[in-house]
Symmetry: C2
Subunit: 435 residues, 2 copies
């Protein structure tokens, strides 16, 4: 076991050597120590490069153990309140990202760190969750975050145990999921990923902020979110989201293309239901330049037969053209989804999110995670939009997606604490281009 | 040959059907037409989906031909001056990006489009340059840009001919370069990439804005930039940059780590010379909390023997850990480099850029692209910083990098119009992890 010695310049900080603890041996290089909070409640952390590590007796603290492993320059002491440029900043927020070594995260983390999501006065701590296999890659990501010198990014921790990584997080962006193996059906995927999200739900329940907002991106995201919230009974179910924002964005783009208008003219687009091929991009309530879409796009056949397919095939077309899945635009849609919760929704508009059905005004079955139209005051919370209309066509399709989600729920009963799972998923409804 | 018919909703725009032209057959899907500028000078473009394409007689215009191929929703009509939200915006700027289907661009393009580089009131037109081989991938990138619904991103064109793509561009971010083949020396790389940059220089000279700012990222970037500017005699040589900002950022991070301070406390870091292993991260003039680095970090041996290596090995370590090269942090450093030219440099600080030596105050050989300390008023231009000091150690190393750049220049004389090339590059000075 090795212990830390302060580097010469260290005396310039207010760090006390008695606060030193020795570090976990989990990480291979550039390991740093988390230090216990000093009496005044401000967190102080210390930097030791591995070649400066020597003698004295280790002081292991409980808190250092549960904080996960801070990385490199992000273990350094700072005091935001002592600096002119930073003293007006908000309180640091902790954001966990799972699947942190993957391609979506590789876009998302840099957006979070740059300030474009939470604003220029919101310092950020990133908690990166990976797997044993991806730990080296996580260090690579942390290195690139170091080299980017983002002023707002004050802490980066990496780890593989959600009980460490989710400690005190105010946001959990759950991107990591196992991809479908060869020949695997949605039911199989539900089971293997459901287990991950059950564990992560338990971890959030145990260690996250009591008002953590959870955004599930890993597929099948609606039912993963349901499993997650069922395993986190002490966190409000309303705080869990399944990402359908990329679908919404794609739907807006296709409506704009068809109408011959720029995409900023399209509003009030709802994605209803499951993030699968049963999802319903709603053109009945959508508007173009404030006018109902059906008054602008008179081609009903296109709306009813081609529009949804165009939205859903987007990922598949992209993989064919670009050879990769849509990491960049998925990351943008996660940013959009978060921003929609932390900034007030523009007057008269709404956004889609897969949220828990509990007293919803549309008659959708309760106790599901279902994508519906939401509005936010910008406080992180949302309310469902009431003034939407249904016709037979829309209702029939929403009902079909509801039936699928009910079937998915029966299929994961063993993971939600509701008895024995019964899987009767008739068809593969994974979206093209998704895994 | 096919020609365009307006979609039904098209009558809602102010487009005149006489402005229609038929489109190039270069792209396989979602092709759109660039239309000629109307009399009032405002550009009007039109959208046609391929399944709406039918009869009448084509009207091909010169301008449509030279504008390259606009993509999808970005071919739609809009009028920024007619909208409340956009009429206070600045004039649209055209930004070309080469290697647009590569990983660095996959990060950079979304940063440009989101507004985080040029600000929230600067509408953007992206001109994506790829190769025959990458054309499908370019379409994939354009699709993801469509699906991201960035309000500021108003036009996206894709193409493989720099004479099309560079038309009227105000920024040219030259990222694309051929990677080193197996066993290829720097001299070989200089030749094959030099030819690309000679052609791109000629194209910029012919069709770009007369004050275009050019940032060369593709390696070997200094000499590529020199070749480029020599082939563009009608564009001020001062407008050409070779990217050394990632090196500067990495140097700041390493100094911060060593000093035990957060990286925002490190300033005045110069990268001198070539973006290669002869580059000189300058700790003599650098400051930490405003104090000369050598007064903060007393470990001279570390500064002289380990610091530079740590900066230079960063890319190699990253590839080992993460399995990929540092696309994300490179893109961040390109953003930093652009921002440093379009926002005023903070009082007393500076930034590094590889720029043309022409009357430099340091006694560095003229007629090279050499990384030096710069300051900007934020107008896109820069001036060299005069108040830097040299000691024997720094001077010796700067001289070595200068010698290398002079040798590289002799090696590409056939591409700069200076006679017969003589290659006497003694060693491989590519940075670890770069291609």
């Amino acid at each position: 076991m090795v212990v830390a010695e302060l580097s010469p310049s260290y005396t310039k900080t207010s760090l006390h050597s008695s606060q030193l603890s020795f570090f976990s041996s989990r990480l291979s290089d550039h390991r740093r120590i988390s230090l216990p909070r000093p009496q005044n409640g401000r967190r102080v952390v210390c930097s030791v490069a591995s070649n400066q590590v020597q003698a004295p007796s280790p002081v292991q603290t409980e808190e250092a153990k549960t904080k996960g492993d801070c990385y490199g320059v992000f273990c350094l002491t700072y005091d935001l309140e002592a600096e002119d440029e930073t003293k007006s900043w908000k309180k640091l927020i902790n954001i966990a990202v799972s699947g942190a070594a993957g391609m979506i995260s590789n876009h998302l983390l840099f957006k979070l760190a740059s300030g474009e999501v939470f604003g220029p006065d919101q310092p950020i701590a990133l908690k990166l969750l990976g797997s044993e296999r991806s730990l080296q890659a996580l260090e690579g990501v942390a290195m690139e975050l170091e080299d980017s010198l983002f002023p707002l990014l004050r802490e980066v921790n990496i780890g593989i145990d959600p009980y460490d990584v989710f400690q005190d997080v105010e946001w959990a962006l759950l991107i990591g999921a196992k991809p479908r193996g060869p020949g695997m059906e949605r039911a199989g995927l539900l089971d293997i990923n459901g287990q991950i999200f059950a564990e992560q739900g338990k971890a959030l329940n145990a260690v996250a902020s009591r008002n953590v907002k959870v955004m599930v991106v890993g597929n099948p995201c609606n039912t993963n979110a349901l499993i997650c919230l069922k395993n986190a009974p002490n966190i409000p179910a309303k705080n869990f989201h399944a990402l359908t924002r990329l679908d919404e964005n794609r739907a807006k783009c296709q409506l704009a293309l068809k109408a011959g208008v720029f995409y900023d003219k399209v509003s009030n687009v709802t994605i209803w239901g499951n993030h699968s091929t049963t999802q319903v991009p709603d053109f009945l309530n959508a508007r173009i330049n404030g006018i109902p879409v059906k008054e602008v796009i008179k081609d009903t056949k296109w709306l009813e037969e081609e529009f949804t397919e165009k939205v859903q095939n987007r990922g598949g077309v992209l993989i064919k053209k670009w050879g990769r899945s849509s990491a960049a635009s998925t990351a943008v849609s996660i940013v959009d989804a978060i921003r929609s919760l932390v900034t007030p929704t523009p007057e008269g508009d709404w956004f889609s999110s897969g949220v828990y059905t509990n007293g919803n005004p549309y008659g959708i079955a309760e106790d599901l995670v279902f994508s519906m139209p939401c509005r936010s005051k910008g406080d992180g919370d949302y309310e469902l939009v009431k003034d939407v209309i249904f016709d037979d066509y829309l209702l029939r399709r929403v009902t079909k997606s509801e039936a699928e989600l009910l079937a998915e729920k029966r299929c994961v009963a063993h993971l939600t604490g509701e008895g024995i799972a019964v899987c009767d998923l008739p068809e593969d409804t994974m979206l093209p281009g998704e895994v």
